[in-house]
């Protein structure tokens, strides 16, 4: 199609990101994911405006109430409005997911890039270290780190980030290795480009796409880990509203007041679903070769 345009002289502005965006727009699933994600981000940003009640407002005359017009998703054991707590909870989940992924990508990406670009002994040493880290299942790693460091938002972010680092190091390393093999890297050496220019102008722009995909899917994983940690009492502590810790508190009332257990879980599910859909869509959009 584009060839035809070039042929007939019609100048249609195209670029890699523009094309990818067009492909993404055609993907209904990805658009649904993006829409849900934007909605969640809005919830998190404007929780104060959107939530019908403050998240910690206790009302002992209305405890354990099922969904009603007053409390759309019902109330909990302290009579707090579950909807409001879920809306505020989006803040924590998105914050934890985002910051732990950014940390993991920066550290893991750097290690992977060094490993892939320089190769040899550095690569060997780093990759063996990553192998060792990866031989402890991620969830187990996060749990033991969280247990050692104690509960709290920052500790949870660090625990999740550390558990995720080896994965990113591998992804970045393998894409750097693929790009390093391309002839255009040799061509850049040929015209006298310095190492830093090659890394900045040629390698990084080309491995950003797979990193974005990994980050989107990884953020889903990080939010899952965060809620699991909080569920086990190792993450966010009450009364701060967090979906996992809400479920942890609701567990003992499952026999009689199941609504307390359902809605926070649905919130987690929607978030993860949105990120997964968007991630899958991005993968197809950013790597057109995969899709035939």
């Amino acid at each position: 199609m584009q060839k035809a345009h070039a042929e007939t002289g019609k100048t249609v502005k195209t670029g890699f990101w523009r094309d990818a965006w067009h492909r993404l727009c055609k993907n209904k699933g990805a658009m649904l994911g993006l829409f849900l994600l934007l909605a969640l981000i809005l919830c998190a940003l404007f929780a104060g405006v959107l939530a019908p009640y403050p998240y910690d407002l206790q009302d002992y005359s209305h405890t354990f109430e099922g969904p009603s017009a007053l409390h759309l998703l019902g109330t909990d054991n302290f009579g707090r409005d579950i909807l409001s707590r879920i809306i505020y909870g989006a803040r924590i989940s998105l914050l934890v997911g985002f910051s732990s992924i950014i940390t993991a990508i920066i550290v893991g990406g750097l290690l992977g890039a060094i490993s892939g670009f320089y190769g040899g002994r550095v690569d060997n040493a780093l990759m063996r270290a990553m192998d060792i880290l990866m031989s402890i299942p991620g969830m187990l790693m996060a749990i033991s780190l969280a247990a050692a460091m104690g509960p709290g938002l920052a500790n949870m972010v660090i625990a999740i980030a550390i558990a995720d680092i080896p994965g990113y190091a591998r992804v970045v390393r393998s894409s750097v290795l693929t790009i390093k093999d391309q002839e255009y890297i040799e061509a850049a050496q040929c015209i006298g480009a310095s190492d830093s220019r090659i890394i900045l102008r040629h390698i990084i722009p080309n491995c950003i796409a797979p990193i974005i995909v990994q980050a989107t899917l990884g953020m889903a994983g990080a939010i899952l880990s965060a809620s699991s940690l909080s569920f086990l009492g190792l993450g966010i502590q009450p009364p701060t509203p967090e979906w996992g810790s809400m479920l942890s508190a609701a567990r003992q009332y499952i026999m009689n007041y199941p609504h307390m257990c359902i809605f926070p879980g649905v919130a987690i599910m929607i978030t993860i679903f949105a990120l997964n859909m968007l991630g899958d869509g991005l993968r197809d959009a950013l790597d057109p070769r995969l899709k035939n």
Binding site: M1, K3, A4, E7
Partner: protein, 325 residues
């Protein structure tokens, strides 16, 4: 001579994202028994699609055969059911694929891949099939002991020999060879071509050799069909095409290859590029690149004309010249 294969008005399209690509466009072709036909064209001309069409292996989606007939030994292959097609594939018509690196199953021994083909079409025990597969291996110049080895233990040329052994294991009537030597080095190519020609003679197989290399065609084929943008633009015997070239595209192809014997300082290439197959010109598809195109070429698609016995050309200019003469 009796015709083993007759293709009439074959049209194959690929459909994706509201785009219709005419890969093969009203193609007509006949092949006599025992003949070798060279199907020549550049990337995207629709050569492989034609071969896959004959095999009934067009990937669907996105490919669809939208019209025409493929008559093989009196029956129209496009009208046969799946079961009948399976009994023809590998038995009566078989195919050698372009890339020997990827066309063998990496987790099966080469011997069992040959034996599989024998077991499908011939009533025989496993042991008999294995014996026959070993014979086939030796026939293509690979020691029988290597029966139990895996494809990755073979070099490219050796793998292509295995592919040939698979294709010829059931003595097919028609062999479709799709660029069988393009991926190989010159000296290995010579070995493999020699093998194909030798076996073809021994087994009296008819063959369609798909290639972009006019040199290979000159050495192997009796008939030549030149393909451009999904159509046959010139068809005739080897002698007719090479010594009485008519179509401007064929002339352009010959002008593009450096000659080993004479000394030409400059080549005379065809200007421009292959048209986008999703957006073919209204008239003759070669018209935008043609040096002798006229107004009629732009608007009207020329028909095949027989310029001499058995030599067909799809070009208005040829008819004109004849008239002038």
């Amino acid at each position: 001579m009796e015709n083993i294969l007759e293709i009439k008005d074959l049209t194959i399209q690929y459909r994706a994202d509201n785009r219709i690509v005419e890969a093969v466009n009203q193609l007509n072709l006949t092949l006599g028994k025992g003949e070798s036909l060279g199907l020549v064209g550049e990337t995207g001309a629709g050569k492989t699609t034609t071969a896959l069409g004959i095999m009934g292996l067009i990937p669907d989606p996105p490919g669809i055969v939208t019209g025409g007939e493929i008559i093989f030994e009196g029956e129209d292959l496009l009208k046969q059911n799946k079961k009948r097609m399976r009994s023809i594939r590998g038995k009566k018509i078989s195919m050698i694929f372009q890339d020997p690196m990827t066309s063998l199953n990496p987790v099966m021994t080469v011997g069992s891949q040959i034996a599989e083909s024998i077991r499908i079409h011939e009533r025989c025990s496993k042991a008999e099939a294995a014996t026959k597969a070993t014979e086939m291996l030796e026939l293509v110049g690979i020691p029988g002991e290597r029966y139990g080895e895996y494809p990755h233990q073979f070099s490219g040329g050796m793998k292509q020999r295995v592919v040939i052994a698979i294709a010829l294991s059931c003595n097919p009537e028609l062999l479709l060879a799709d660029e069988p030597t393009t991926a190989l080095d010159v000296t290995i190519q010579a070995q493999v071509l020699d093998l194909i020609v030798k076996l073809k003679k021994e087994k009296q197989t008819s063959m369609i050799l798909i290639t972009h290399d006019l040199g290979i065609v000159a050495e192997v084929c009796d008939k030549v069909a030149i393909m451009y943008a999904g159509e046959i633009v010139e068809y005739g015997s080897l002698e007719q095409i090479y010594n009485h070239t008519c179509h401007p595209y064929t002339k352009g192809l010959f002008g593009s290859i450096p000659d080993l014997d004479s000394h030409v300082k400059r080549l005379s290439p065809i200007p421009g590029l292959m048209p986008d197959p999703a957006d073919l010109p209204a008239g003759c598809s070669f018209c935008p690149r043609c040096t002798c195109a006229c107004e009629r070429c732009e608007s009207e698609n020329p028909q095949m004309i027989e310029v001499e016995t058995g030599h067909f050309v799809k070009c208005f200019q040829i008819g004109k010249e004849e008239e002038h003469v």
